[in-house]
């Protein structure tokens, strides 16, 4: 049987994102003044991993044909929270980590509950809850700051290099994929999430658990946002309630998801694609830097890349034969 053809087709979006990333990364490294060294890779990985977590978070919701505009704010809130709680001895640190992750999960679950049981549009719900989460972050950290007994050993371990020069953050990302994404992808709930995004009516008629699928997707999105927030804290040792940062991460997560081959209309794509999308998007942004172009052009460049990526997604329109289908 020619399974490989179908395996390939299934992963085409992911592979394309991987390809874009590799090409961009090769261009980046070969033009980098320092060349391909462990330090260059580590810096790139640490920057990319943050967006990768947030993009994964966005993927869960986008797969169900929803959108999570609060994901950047969950990220910021958990950053502020972690700057207080990841402190002291291993046991208090563990407790802190748990509390941060639980907070993210609850934030996501609240989004899910309001969307599913309030029957409201995900976009306004998450804009509103995003404001609430940001407000809480401001409450925690009216000014950027850190805690004296912050567990920087753990932070250094997770952001440093492992023997062999492998960035620890990449390994952490890999572990998260393995214990969260892979089981989700293979579970009945995960399949229902894809089905909801593809055709909610058909999924409902087939007796799939559509509501729980959406709830779980939103909750996991919150969890991944929290993991991202933790890592931001590991990099900076501090917490900052930055509105601009939150908005930027939300926006970039959408860009990463689109680049990673996840359909904004739901039902198609994978978090692994979104990770490569995130890494590629980060590298594209940094390309300007190695080419000695004015870094001022970076936001514009990223914005244009995002706009073009989105427009490419609308190519399917030209296959529509019955114009009434456009208004479904």
């Amino acid at each position: 049987m020619n399974d490989w053809r179908y395996r390939f087709a299934e992963q085409r979006g992911t592979l394309l994102a991987l390809l874009i990333f590799l090409v961009m990364f090769v261009i980046y490294v070969s033009n980098h003044p320092a060349g391909f060294t462990a330090n260059v890779v580590q810096t790139a990985a640490n920057k990319g991993v943050l967006l990768a977590f947030v993009a994964m978070a966005q993927t869960f919701v986008v797969l169900t044909a929803g959108i999570d505009l609060s994901v950047g704010m969950v990220f910021i809130l958990c950053n502020c929270l972690a700057s207080y709680l990841v402190v002291g001895s291993p046991s208090t640190t563990a407790l802190g980590l748990f509390a941060v992750l639980a907070t993210g999960l609850v934030c996501g679950a609240i989004n899910g509950l309001v969307v599913v049981f309030g029957r409201l549009q995900p976009i306004v719900v998450t804009i509103a809850t995003g404001a609430i989460y940001f407000g809480l972050a401001l409450l925690l950290r009216p000014n950027p700051g850190s805690t004296a007994n912050f567990n920087s050993d753990l932070a250094d371990a997770l952001t440093g290099k492992l023997p062999g020069g492998i960035p620890a953050s990449l390994v952490a990302l890999f572990v998260v994929v393995l214990i969260i994404w892979v089981p989700f992808r293979r579970s009945v709930i995960g399949r229902a999430a894809y089905a909801v995004g593809s055709s909610e009516t058909a999924a409902y008629m087939s007796g799939m658990p559509t509501r729980s699928a959406k709830l779980v997707a939103y909750a996991l999105s919150g969890l991944l946002g929290a993991i991202g927030g933790l890592f931001l804290t590991f990099f900076t040792y501090s917490g900052e309630a930055s509105l601009a940062n939150g908005n930027t991460y939300t926006l970039f997560s959408i860009a990463a998801v689109v680049l990673g081959g996840v359909s904004l209309f739901g039902g198609k794509g994978s978090a692994i694609g979104a990770i490569f999308g995130a890494l590629a998007f980060r590298t594209i942004g940094d390309l300007l830097f190695v080419f000695d172009l004015d870094p001022l052009w970076q936001p514009l460049f990223q914005g244009v890349v995002l706009l073009l990526a989105i427009c490419l997604g609308s190519a399917r329109l030209f296959q529509v034969k019955n114009r009434l289908d456009l208004f479904a």
Binding site: M1, N2, D3, Y6, R7, A9, E10, P183, R186, S187, V188, R191, Y194, A195, G197, S198, S199, A202, A203, M205, S206, G207, M208, G267, K268, V320, K321, N322, R323, L324
Partner: protein, 517 residues
């Protein structure tokens, strides 16, 4: 066959939707290892019957027996568990999932809480093989497969649920002849395995080929059950017609001959697989009917004429001049003057939460405004006139359109289009689901419009409307014109006969080669 306990039996089943009787005291007996065909014209109650059997709706009265045991189904899952599985007309597959995912969708095999992909693959391959879809790869995405393959997957999905009674509702309507014969091989094998099969199709030759028993439904009742092959096609049609109607139609007037080109002249219109070389004309003052079973391309024909469909080929002549109609906006322009009363008044005809006034004037605002500013006095006058003309019962013109009764909503849709003074009026089943009184008002109105010079193209699922209203009826089958009936040829018998694409003895249908003077 009568002395054994039948696999499934339903007795005295009745079901009403609002005021409409869908089924009344219907009964049906299905035996294991037999193919039982259900026949009946549009609205005879077939689909309600199936929905009750498969647990989608609950009957108002009556009982169901499975192997002699009384059963009730709260939902489709309960019916599935009892071994009754239905393949519905509208596909329930999830486009972005793989074939295998879809086949096991309701009950995937799991190991340690995760979906066991290997087991899933095995189940899918087995089910596909039983359904005659060995060539379909279980890892293909459903959305990448053509309709005929999807139908096979539907069957495989049903088989994976281990049914004892399998219901196929128009399951072959999307298939080519070659695919149908493949499906029939599968059905025969399933029958040999002891499954009971309930087969609903409009294709008489298919029923003749596969069915063991047939039951005819009319007006929500089973009127005859017989061994397949024991009745002629004519006898079957005879049993299907005779729906009770009591409508009064306005008198038709013969159209004087004219050397004017027809207002609407369509030549060789084709669109994807749904319309095939359709040609028709409509003259001023003429009511042209579109007949045939539901879903044979009538809707697409109207939409294509109105400029909604992309990539339609063929020629449209308005007043004898070739014209390209690329959008509804062009279609309604003064030069063409076309109006379409769409299929679904709630989603296509009206904006229900908006006021009666806003709805009525919406299509005609171009004529009621200066430089984009609505002339409210002119609008008010025009709206009032329409309400009077069509006797629309409404609590003022500022109430939402949604607060009107169904019949008045439909009048609103028609009135909305009359406000643009159209010369060509296309109607898509305009009397569906409305009361008798309003229907008759609409009939009179349509005739009046024709008499005042409009060309009318009317699609109706009710044969008596075509008989009572139309000067000419074009019967579509599978997207192509099967027959054109003119004047006194338009009878219910001829309509049903040609709709089913079979020969009846009033005339030979145009489909078959006939030697005639």
């Amino acid at each position: 066959m009568d002395d054994v306990v039948p696999l499934f039996r339903m007795e005295g089943i009745s079901k009403r939707y609002g005021g409409v009787k869908a089924l009344e005291n219907a009964s049906l007996t299905v035996q294991a290892a037999r193919v039982h065909a259900i026949l009946g014209e549009n609205g005879a109650g077939k689909s309600t019957l199936i929905k009750i059997m498969s647990g989608v709706v609950a009957p108002d009265a009556g009982r169901m027996l499975l192997e002699g045991q009384s059963v009730q189904f709260a939902n489709p899952a309960a019916a599935n568990a009892a071994g009754i599985v239905c393949i519905f007309q509208e596909l329930s597959l999830i486009p972005d999932l793989t074939v295998a995912d879809n086949i096991v969708v309701s009950n995937p095999p799991t190991r340690f809480g995760m979906i066991d992909r290997r087991a899933q693959r095995r189940i899918a391959e087995e089910a596909l093989a039983r359904a005659g879809g060995e060539d379909i790869h279980p890892m293909a995405l459903v959305k990448d497969l053509p309709l005929s393959r999807r139908q096979i997957i539907e069957i495989a999905k049903a088989l994976a649920r281990k049914p004892r009674l399998l219901i196929l509702d128009e399951a072959t309507s999307a298939l080519t002849a070659a695919d149908v014969s493949k499906v029939f091989d599968v059905l025969r094998r399933l029958r040999a395995e002891g499954l009971a099969l309930l087969f609903i199709s409009h294709r008489m030759h298919e029923i003749a080929e596969i069915a063991d028993d047939c039951t005819i439904f009319r007006n929500g009742r089973n009127v005859a059950t017989y061994r397949a092959g024991s009745k002629t096609d004519n006898e079957v049609v005879e049993l299907m017609i005779g729906r009770e109607y009591s409508h009064v139609f306005p008198p038709k007037k013969p159209l004087p001959p004219s050397d004017q080109p027809p207002v609407l002249d369509v030549r060789n219109l084709s669109w994807t697989q749904r319309l095939k070389d359709v040609s028709l004309t409509a003259r001023a003052g003429e009511v042209v009917g579109l007949g045939g079973l539901d879903g044979q391309g009538q809707r697409e024909l109207l939409l294509a004429l109105f400029g909604v469909l992309r990539g339609a080929s063929g020629e449209v002549l308005i007043d004898g001049k070739p014209t390209r109609i690329g959008s509804p906006r062009v279609a309604k322009s003064r030069k063409i003057g076309m109006a379409l009363i769409p299929e679904d008044r709630k989603t296509e005809g009206l904006m229900l939460p908006m006021s009666v006034r806003d709805n009525l004037s919406f299509a005609a605002l171009g004529n009621l405004s200066h430089a984009g500013v609505v002339d409210q006095r002119a609008e008010r006058a025009a709206v009032d006139e329409m309400i009077r003309l069509l006797a629309i019962r409404t609590d003022g013109i500022d109430v939402p359109a949604g607060s009107l009764s169904g019949g008045n909503q439909q009048k609103l849709v028609i009135a909305k289009w009359l406000m643009v003074s159209p010369r060509i009026i296309l109607l898509n089943d305009p009397t569906r689901g409305i009361d008798v009184g309003t229907k008759e008002e609409i009939y009179a109105l349509l005739r009046k419009l024709a008499d005042s010079g409009a060309a009318i193209v009317l699609y109706s699922t009710e044969y008596d409307e075509l008989v009572g209203l139309c000067d000419r009826v074009i019967v579509l089958y599978d997207g192509a014109i099967k027959r054109t009936l003119v004047g006194s040829e338009i009878t219910e018998r001829a309509l049903i006969g040609s709709a089913l694409n079979i020969a009846t003895d009033d005339r030979e249908p145009g489909a078959k080669p006939v030697v005639e003077a």
